[in-house]
Symmetry: C2
Subunit: 422 residues, 2 copies
């Protein structure tokens, strides 16, 4: 890992997002058009082409759920249940109620909160098919009150989905799971087919084709953010333990060769110890190759003269995951402006949040914590403004409204209010 | 206006959004690339090319603000101030605080709310340059606590901006206003130039080039929704007055030939009266041509047998603006799931909300109220999750986390928590 001593805060982990080639964009547009025209037929054809498997039905069957429970260690089922309970309990605290306010003149204004009718969760295939993704995407939607939650995921070679994914879905009571992936899954969720009714919002990460497809249908349905490379930043002073910092940095590095693992510390001595620990620990990892590539390409240690500069550096980075391992972590919190999830103290190792603690692990990546939030209950509800004017408040204000309307050259707006006087 | 009696609720105002031609997309990509490379130079060149005006500076000058106040009727300045106060008061009720929760085992979880650092508001030029747009976009950002708010708008033939827009901006204390429009303005806000520092989020409507540019930069910065055609739906029973309904329908129709004006009523007698009133009133409007075209193309009256079916129709339409003019409007509210703004009773004519009442007039259009909300304070803040585990809660749970990590094949995640035991 490269060690740099810095005095200013001119750093960034921002890497341009892969927006695909012209050809990839065209392919995705073609896939979407074909699914709109041919429906299920196109889904089966693309699944045969891209996933090399011929399916008789898209919907996951009861037998597949039963088999998944047979496959999965009972103890893990209990842990999944406990994690789900923690996640539900945290997200319930996010839920907001409708409100109204009244004025003496009889004006009532307010905001009505309503859950979305239907959402689709895309769960990527391959090594990225994580049960925790199911929990983290589905539970906030359930807390919001979404009635219909659909999961789509590309089938594996055996034409089914990983046991952990199916058990997690079943534990949450999600039965509508379709074995279809890629841009074709996004097209089906946005426009609907004979089997898959369209949804109002599509969540979840995926490969470049999935990302481009979400971009294409954005506006027809809502989507979550386009996810970029994932990262962890550890903010520490001399009191933190190098071996623990190194282990946490590597837990991010093992995800993907594109992941960033960054340490911002006030101690050069610690920086060198962490560098050595990372080299020692990475060699012992089963995913050594990925972790090593990630650390070499995007691993970095920044050493600052004081904690204040270190915090400024963190805000420049706006990390997805931030661990604060300092003498007094809570004291750093007011200064931290941009971070998806903030882990305070040595006992709050990042994996605790990935799986178990309760806050969402779907977080803004690649510096987008500057303007984005962790996945939360608000993402599954929408607001309606309520306006009720009384005769009294109308008579007091209609002339002002008419004058503003005429300033903007909208005579019919002015006449609409004046029509009430007739 | 076409009158249709319906018994089911199979209706929709959904119209496909203009996503531009291949050529338009390419032009926008070229403009963005050029602005990234040439900065201000490109902005001046495109302004000369597209707005036919050569500017010496992009930033609006003090002289231009002074001239704007000289131009504008004093009484209007007072009305703008009163409208701004109403809008601020409503949006302050939306603001949310950070929260924390504690468990007996020492676990602390929470959610920290932080305003965005910088946002850009695009104010369209021409007839659509509305002071009310400035109030509605800027005030929620100010309530959220956004420090830097930038406005960009294409200059008119005299190389300046409309007096109403400048006065509205000045009244809110926004001084950073740039005379640049189109895709080049969006590129400058997203990537920055010598004069215009980049922002974190871009708001505001615009023509197809602006919309495509926002789509292109989405992910680099955040954007609000891509606005589609605007609409009003009036829900009424026999107690409503046909002349008032007609006037409100026309206030929407005068906006744009693409606007929709729809009545859903339980009374066929009223439907015919409204049809006649619309024909009578539209002929007297200065914007008769636009309003007539809109009503002919997208105006519609649906007559249902009962209020329950009428409300179901409204939910299918998911309108931007909904007026409820029935005997007991409040009684309809629980059944209404999808609408941007809901106006209750005959004294709540839609223009009251456009300008003055307080709720935002930036609303989800074209049926997107199914998943989108009015512009609100949350759009200018983001959340950070807080996780602090104690020694006790860590020891109770680390083994479960390790087990879940290994289920997902992420050994380094498991070792990160186990490293704490050393």
């Amino acid at each position: 890992m490269k060690i740099t001593r810095i005095t200013d805060k001119k750093v960034s982990l921002r890497r341009t997002i892969d927006t695909g080639t012209e050809q990839q964009r065209k392919d995705v547009q073609d896939i979407i058009a074909t699914v709109r025209n041919d429906g299920d037929k196109a889904l089966f054809a693309y699944t045969k082409k891209f996933d090399q498997v011929s399916l008789s039905s898209l919907l996951v069957t009861d037998e597949e759920f039963t088999e998944a429970y047979r496959e999965l260690d009972k103890e893990l089922v209990d842990i999944i249940r406990e994690a789900a309970a923690n996640i539900r309990s945290f997200h319930e605290k996010q839920k907001r109620e409708s409100w109204f306010s009244y004025d003496d003149d009889g004006t009532m204004l307010g905001q009505k909160m309503t859950p979305l009718d239907a959402v689709g969760v895309y769960v990527p295939g391959g090594t990225a098919a994580y049960p925790s993704s199911v929990l983290m995407n589905v539970i906030p939607a359930q807390v919001a009150g979404v009635k219909r939650i659909v999961i789509t995921s590309p089938p594996n070679g055996k034409g089914t989905l990983p046991a952990g994914v199916l058990v997690a879905a079943k534990e949450l009571g999600v039965a509508e799971i379709y074995k279809v992936g890629g841009a074709q899954a996004i097209a089906a969720l946005a426009y609907g087919t004979e089997t898959i009714a369209s949804v109002d919002k599509i969540m979840g990460p995926g490969n470049i084709y999935v990302a481009l497809a979400k971009r294409e249908v954005f506006g027809i349905v809502d989507i979550d953010m386009i996810a970029g490379p994932s990262e962890i930043v550890v903010l520490s002073d001399e009191t933190a333990r190098a071996n623990e910092i190194a282990a946490d940095l590597l837990s991010q590095a093992e995800h993907d060769k594109n992941s960033s693992s960054i340490l911002v510390t006030t101690s050069m001595d610690q920086a060198e110890k962490v560098k050595a620990e990372v080299e020692k620990q990475v060699a012992l990892l089963p995913r050594e190759e990925i972790a090593k590539a990630s650390v070499e390409a995007y691993g970095h240690i920044y050493v600052t003269d004081d904690l204040e500069t270190a915090i400024a550096v963190v805000n420049e980075l706006a990390p997805e995951h931030l661990e604060v391992i300092t003498e007094n972590p809570l004291a750093c919190l007011p200064g931290i402006k941009h971070a998806g999830a903030i882990f305070l103290g040595r006992y709050s190792s990042e994996p605790i949040g990935d799986y178990f603690a309760g806050p969402n692990h779907v977080l803004p990546t690649n510096g987008t914590a500057r303007f984005s939030s962790p996945l939360n209950v608000d993402d599954f509800m929408k607001k309606s403004s309520i306006i009720q004017y009384s005769k009294q408040s109308f008579e007091k204000n209609f002339a002002k409204v008419a004058k503003l309307a005429r300033l903007e050259g909208l005579e019919a707006h002015a006449r609409a209010v004046e029509e009430r006087l007739k």
